[in-house]
């Protein structure tokens, strides 16, 4: 298998851009319109905001179960760099191998079905043939035999799929984070959380424990059914379009939070949205938790007037402890000043979508 990210060979749909160094990432106008804006009203508070992961409107981020967008090739190149520097971003405990194959099947079948122009999968019993045109990969392998792939099944398929993925084993009426690949995370560490249960890995989240949110969410997830995936949106903010904001690399990006000035807010400050989805996996009875990161610059966000108004209000009224937890405190005031001119006080329509 060749994993050469030769962008000159990829269709022009995919952007040639970076999420580090010179940070050339940006969204096309089409990409802005399909951004999964996470606020359906002018304020934010925790909720178990779970819905069925059903197809959303055509071209939206939820049109298909697995969303492949214009950032695909560049994101996969960034993931390869992260893994080359730190292999512990991808780990799997030995009892998760069946779940790994379940995940490979879910991702390959979804991608090939929904994006036939880029991916194809031919199955003849357990002899599979996978073609990934954007990344120039043509792979024949035996389903269930890890020796026929260049990486373990989870690592193999997630090096070719946008989003972080965690595999949760279900036992003792709890979910255990026993495998995952995590390279585009909002300041949490797979290496630290590996082996923890659902209540443990949510330990640092303020308020939500007292609200009983995790007990309710866990009870719901333990009965998650095959063929009935669910999703929710989560959000934070990131300075510079950096996918890999990990604790392991905090020394590289933490300082960025002090570099925001009134002049650079529009380019530097990003709303970071996670489209989180959960599927029951059939062979292993495990659950896959996918965390797909979307970034949008403030100057891109305000091109949708409703979003500019609303985000100004959400950020202004966010309780201090939540702002601290999300790491926004340093640059919140500067960002609010920049956003204020885009909020004329007019009412906003209900729902997430642009007017």
């Amino acid at each position: 298998m060749s994993l050469a990210f030769d962008l000159s060979r990829t269709p022009s749909f995919f952007r040639d851009e970076t999420f580090r160094g010179d940070f050339t990432f940006e969204n096309s106008p089409e990409s802005i319109r399909r951004f999964p804006f996470p606020f359906d009203r002018d304020q934010y508070m925790y909720a178990v905001n779970i819905e069925q992961h059903m197809p959303g409107p055509p071209k939206s981020a939820t049109a298909f179960p697995i969303d492949i967008d214009e950032h695909y090739v560049a994101e996969m190149a960034d993931r390869a760099k992260v893994l080359a520097e730190d292999p512990l971003r991808c780990q799997s405990l030995p009892h998760m191998i069946t779940a790994e194959w379940d995940l490979l099947e879910l991702l390959m079948t979804s991608m090939a079905r929904d994006y036939p122009q880029w991916f194809s999968l031919h199955r003849d019993g357990d002899r599979w043939h996978w073609v990934n045109r954007p990344l120039g990969i043509d792979q024949r392998f035996t389903f269930g035999d890890a020796a026929t792939l260049p990486y373990g099944p989870m690592e193999y398929v997630t090096r070719q799929c946008q989003g972080d993925f965690c595999l949760l084993d279900q036992r003792d009426d709890n979910l255990w984070l026993d495998a995952g690949i995590v390279t585009s995370q909002a300041d949490w560490s797979l290496d630290f959380d590996l082996g923890m249960n659902f209540i443990e890995w949510h330990g640092p989240v303020p308020r939500a424990h007292d609200m009983g949110i995790f007990e309710r969410a866990l009870k719901f997830l333990l009965n998650l059914q095959i063929g009935r995936p669910i999703r929710r949106l989560n959000w934070t903010m990131t300075i510079n379009p950096r996918l890999d904001t990990s604790p392991e690399n905090y020394h590289r990006w933490g300082i960025d939070r002090t570099t925001v000035t009134p002049e650079n807010v529009g380019d530097k400050v990003h709303l970071r949205v996670e489209l989180q989805a959960l599927w029951r996996l059939p062979r292993s009875n495990a659950i896959v938790f996918s965390i797909r990161c979307y970034l949008i610059k403030m100057r891109e966000l305000v091109t949708v007037p409703k979003w500019g108004r609303r985000f100004h209000r959400v950020l202004r009224d966010l309780p201090a402890d939540l702002a601290d937890y999300k790491g926004l405190t340093n640059y919140r005031a500067t960002t609010l000043e920049w956003l204020a001119p885009y909020d004329d006080g007019a009412p906003t329509s209900p729902g997430f979508f642009p007017d």
Binding site: R171, D172, N223, Q225, I226, P282
Partner: protein, 319 residues
Amino acid sequence: MSATRYTVRVTEAEAVTPHVRRLRLEPADGAALPPASAGAHTVVTLEANGRTLRNSYSLTAPSLAGGAYEIAVLRSPTSRGGSRFVHERLREGDTLSVSAPVNLFPLHRLARHHVLVAGGIGITPIAAMAEELSRLGASYELHYAVRSEAAGAFCRDLEARHASRMRLYSSERQERLRVREIVPHQPLGSHLYVCGPQRMIDAVFADARAAGWPEANLHAERFEAPAGGDPFAVRLARSGKSTTVGEHESLLEAIERIGVEAPYLCRGGACGECICDVIEADGELDHRDHFLSPEERRAGDKIMICMSRLKGRELVLDL
């Protein structure tokens, strides 16, 4: 929310004993069946004598490649119509509707050793678990108690597959399964799984507890068919519909009969999915599930509609 459903054709129907019929189910409409893990069950919809019955049956083998499911149905002397229909009416070539598999009795993947115990038709999920453990090369032992070798489903097949890992106990031959002699000699980190009649589950757990086993290492498939009872009225406050729950039907079945979709998974009082808020109860709630705690039962404001009933006149639910 109920599970995704698939239309399947009965491609094999075989009497494996005089009272147990094995069915092989394959997709009828080209839509592939999802793979199933060991211990999973499917909810089969049976149109029997003008009534719609939905019964849960364990899949008797893991179906890791998808393709086909197998179930084994015991002809029950107290049948509400489901098992009689499967035994007397269902033919090869008939179609049925089955749910996506649900696993409420999964293998514990970190167990150092697995002790599997089955009584009678309780062999169905246990056989699938033994098969999966054998495939994985895991450490396990299988104890199977039957009335006689002729009455026990799959005895020969299982002995051939599991050989020295399996012990068969036939009451006809005066062989007794003595769990209290099995449980003390297992390595730390062993897990025990039992499926069979309720009194067998209780006895096995009692022996394991007496031998000092931690609760978290004991697993049972508890679901059973809803037993009938005196009829009572039910009113659904949100949908504004009412009906009478018949002597031989469950509250959930009555609700489905009048076209209201209520959530469920196991239909056996185990999983908690069908929990429902009680708005009013003119009578006494007759809790028959394994889910609500004693405190929740006493509070009287929740009911598991797949199993439990009202002893009284009318129940008003938030549905």
